[in-house]
Amino acid sequence: MINEIIFMKGYGFYVWSAFSFTLISFATLYILIKTNLVKEQNKFVTKFGLLDKEKVKVAQIQSTHREILANKISSKV
């Protein structure tokens, strides 16, 4: 039973290679995109931290700014 799943009558190498390549590609793309997202979020948080009080007030009016900061905090948790 297990042998049949692994070797698939001689086609196992081809089938498992195709599925492995697909899943590895998914994982690589996900990690790359996620890393970029986190990098941009960090850059945003750093820049936001450097703003003076007046500018912070202006920046916080935008819901997207608040959401980026909230996401950053929750992802750290």
Binding site: K9, A18, F21, I33, L51, Q62, N71
Partner: protein, 235 residues
């Protein structure tokens, strides 16, 4: 007219839905993999190698669908001068590119036991390779050109020229004598694939679509945060 596509609204929706889409993707993918690898029957001619179809075909469908969508968004962005459509198109490109690579590589792996060769300059394979080049040009253009208006024009031209290739890929098996068989899954006419194989194929297509949606949402948010970062500099 395009208020529904307002970047801030999309960003807020993205932030809240990404984790649910990731969960749904993992669930559907797991069921799809069990169906594709263990429960679906082997083919009476191709035996177990037919299982490669469950990753090869959905990848090809999605890469074609995404490029068509990129072209459509580029045209709309070009006509209505709506920058957000360009950002949406740009965010779709990475997953389309990766699905195109998966379609070519898994097709090559499937070709060896079926046709006895890893590669053939068959009409469909060649046209898929051309699509990959258009994806590469599209992504590179966004990286190379800095000026916003210029890059939107260049990427739109690439997308519009590239989309001409999409019907060529679709009908290549009818127009030329190729190694590929005619399509077995049809929307307008009756499909010739048995339900025991159609179910895993549709499950894997759903899983792959969810994955491309997830990547799109993350990439779109990254692009939007980049814009907001520039905005903070200007405050």
């Amino acid at each position: 007219m395009f208020k529904i596509f307002e970047p801030n609204k999309i960003f807020l929706i993205n932030s809240k839905t990404s984790k649910y889409i990731l969960f749904l993707f993992i669930t559907v993918l797991t069921i799809g993999l069990v169906e594709a690898l263990f429960l679906s029957p082997e083919d009476y001619i191709q035996s177990h190698s037919v299982r490669i179809m469950y990753v090869h075909v959905p990848s090809a469908w999605i890469s074609l669908g995404i490029f068509s969508l990129i072209a459509l968004l580029s045209i709309v962005s070009f006509i209505f001068k709506n920058k957000n459509f360009s950002i949406i198109a740009k965010s779709l490109a990475p997953s389309g590119f990766v699905f195109n690579i998966i379609a070519l590589v898994t097709g090559s792996i499937w070709g060896k036991p079926t046709w006895g060769t890893w590669w053939a300059w068959d009409a469909r394979i060649t046209s898929m390779l051309i699509l990959l080049l258009f994806y590469a040009m599209y992504i590179l253009a966004w990286r190379i050109f800095d000026k916003n208006e210029k890059v939107i024009k260049i990427t739109s031209v690439i997308a519009i020229l590239g989309v001409i290739n999409v019907p060529i890929i679709k009908f290549s098996v009818d127009w030329w004598s190729t190694l590929h068989q005619d399509s077995s899954v049809n929307i307008l006419s009756e499909s010739t694939i048995h339900s025991s194989m159609l179910v895993p194929l549709l499950l894997m297509t759903a899983a792959f679509s969810l994955f491309s949606l997830l990547i799109f949402l993350m990439k779109y948010n990254t692009e939007l945060i980049k814009i907001k970062n520039k905005g903070l500099d200007r405050l």
